[in-house]
Symmetry: C4
Subunit: 262 residues, 4 copies
């Protein structure tokens, strides 16, 4: 069931994309930081290639030159996003340009987290197969190895029932986005019960690394539990120290190579 | 053991297929809704590519212009089906045209469900590795996350012993097809003990999405159980609300891209 | 850790192989049933592609025109075998032609089973990841679904300690081959403690299908056990009836397509 | 989450690499045993392709003509290493040539093991997903099948807290390298709590085989435990006898073929 997405497929998608300039530019589009859009497209492809995102879930980046705007693909699977599919939003998650009907239903996750967390420059929302089980279990997700030391425990779990009763589970409006941002608090990640997770970071590279290794940690922790013995988790002090690492640049370089990007 | 089917392989199969018009047309063939056949071939390739079908299992679609006919590949693996391999059947699962000896033994699954369920336009029968364990366990399959909210619990399990005693487990005749359809009732899916599952929907896109996410839910539920704590399942009201979603179009688009279809 | 072997790799290996006629033919080689050798090479590639064989393990076929001879690759990984690598052996597992030093250490598995079982025409010896756990556990391997109905329970486990004490676990000589054949008896498969399994059948196609689905059944049975409830296995009568199926032709056709063979 | 690295990607990386002679040679570089560097690059690619190394972890080889020097890639993912990225180190893990800032933080693992173990000619440090769980569990890693007989039990676990208290878990200096080497002792492998493992051998081929099958054994042992029955492990005598095998040449040949190396 694991998506198999070939590097060549992405390479094609990546190189064949229509230049943004070919569509009639609005003033906002003229200001598009094209290098940032390219990075965001690459982050979409990497997170799909590495199994963090499947047909659903998304990644955004805050505009470094305008803290009140962020960039996010339109309503589509991450693996097939092109630069032309990137929309600019304000913090109310209203499109600054482009087709307003084409946005992700849950874009408020991004807008409200950027509003609440000035330090956050990139956000991932995912349904990764290894994370969902922890979102519905009383067993808490905890870092078992140094690659996931950035996780601050306990990893909070957003219970949408507390915010809005029995819903369709989606973050459909700013109020739910605010409630999720409140559960997240100042942490790097939160699980969403029966849904997935949200991960934040000061950059696209770090948010990709955190999402990948949060997922991997969940997989390893489950296996450690299955061994039936006692499990030694990272000490909070160890977690804190390992969390201050190199920004996952080595992983980003590999992942970029794998999706065939230049 | 997970099938690795390359996009390029499918692309080849898909583009190299002989046009239906090249075989001597019978009146029935003349009426072939070729776009629908193309979609059915694509559904075969997608379900193979995504691990729902392996060498066995099948997907069918009801003829939208004749509710008493449906379309299904001949006796072969879904991953290598071409339009020339699609047979038209009536609700007795007798071929309207083509070689009657080449049909799937279990085509009665399709015919009897279409007869019993006028709302159903597409049917998948599969042996997905994540579903079979739930078919033989006393642990019930239940939706753990919003992507599988369409599942109505308890997911019924068809026990062929109750219908016909000790058999070779196959739905070899209309009577067994009827018994299975009765177990399915008005639900979107049923497990088949020691065999697999059947999934139904109002379209090919939705049946593919349901089969994929029913399988994924089984995987996630097993992992949640393995964590050893208590598990919070979707509330029936949550399941009902999440079940009314967008028809898995975003997933279909990605899967179509992955198998290389135009 | 699952081997990823690309279809194109095999296609290359398969088409680039030197013709047998290019090496100086011995009388035995002249009699080579080349179609059978081609099928054996294909079986090697399929079993590697489908995860039954990794760098170790092997598959053989008995000569249909001489029941005292069988064919087996030389000491190499199944995924890269070519026709030029196939050696003809007698039932003492002595090469009839070719370099005697290049044989698999454990070729006696094949010779002694062919000697003891006139009905057997093909043999697989494998270390499949899903089977090894059952070889060392007190939990017996049993068919959970119809695709593995051919398994006769209890699946015997060969304990080499009973035959030869504390060894290096390998079937290094005819005596150990005979002991293994005795454990196998008239059954289609046996597990080998701390080692793997042996699977037999009346043809290459069936032995490939049995090896694949024995492996898959092990995976499914483990998952069913992990669900924590009670498990319903196939009734022996059901197993017997499902075991009399079509010879896995549909699976063989798919697998052949996947490794790129014509 | 398992890295999918295509053979063709590696083949490209492997053939497109700049010749070492194109950079201005230092005396040390002139002495580069280029065949050994090629083998080391290949080992990097194989271990990435087979899932032992992801973006992190590394493999080194001791210089056969100078026991006080070893070779190791610069700070980068194993899957994309080229010969130009290989650095020569002395046993203090100081670069003999090249950019000293570009080394792996944990190169002291290699230097201190080579110092302590004259018999060791190759070292792997990895975070393989199947091994980390054993590093944090009270359940000991033990050989369940003959392919992992080389493991001497109990496999020691390096607890960095005993050596240095609460750290960032990394082997950042010679002292920590020495402590790890001391835990390893005369054994072929050691787990590192909350981190991964270190594997040593008399050659690159054997260290690759040991790392791969240590990982596979962990996977199989977990599955055997999950079956819930009693587990029969290799007897120490069996382990000792199986450990004296052919050096994993058959596996190396297959893996080399898979990464497309000539």
């Amino acid at each position: 069931m694991k998506p198999l997405i070939l590097a060549s497929t992405f390479a094609l998608a990546f190189t064949a994309l229509p230049a943004l300039s070919q569509t009639k530019p609005t003033p906002a589009q003229k200001a598009v930081p094209s290098a940032l859009v390219q990075e965001l497209v690459l982050a979409n492809h990497i997170l799909a290639s590495e199994g963090v995102l499947d047909a659903y879930g998304h990644v955004s980046v805050r505009d470094p030159s305008n803290a009140n705007h962020y960039w996010l693909a339109k309503h589509m699977a991450a693996g097939v996003v092109t630069p032309a599919d990137i929309i600019e939003y304000d913090l109310d998650s209203k499109p600054v340009s482009g087709d307003p009907s084409a946005g992700y239903t849950e874009r408020f996750i991004h807008g409200e987290i950027y509003r609440a967390r000035p330090d956050v420059m990139a956000v991932v929302h995912c349904h990764s197969p290894d994370l969902v089980p922890f979102s519905v279990s009383s067993a808490p997700l905890r870092p078992v190895y140094h690659m996931a030391g950035f996780l601050e425990t306990p990893v909070p779990i957003f219970e949408i029932r507390s915010a809005a009763g029995l819903t369709d589970m989606l973050i459909r409006n700013p109020e739910l986005g605010k409630a999720l941002a409140q559960t997240l608090g100042q942490k790097p990640a939160a699980l969403m019960r029966g849904h997935g997770a949200v991960v934040v970071a000061p950059s696209l590279h770090v948010v990709a690394g955190r999402a990948y290794y949060m997922n991997m940690n969940a997989k390893l922790q489950l296996q450690a539990i299955q061994l039936g013995g006692s499990v030694t988790y990272l000490d909070p002090e160890e977690a804190k120290k390992t969390g201050a690492q190199d920004g996952f640049e080595r992983a980003w370089d590999l992942w970029k190579h794998k999706v065939g990007a230049k």
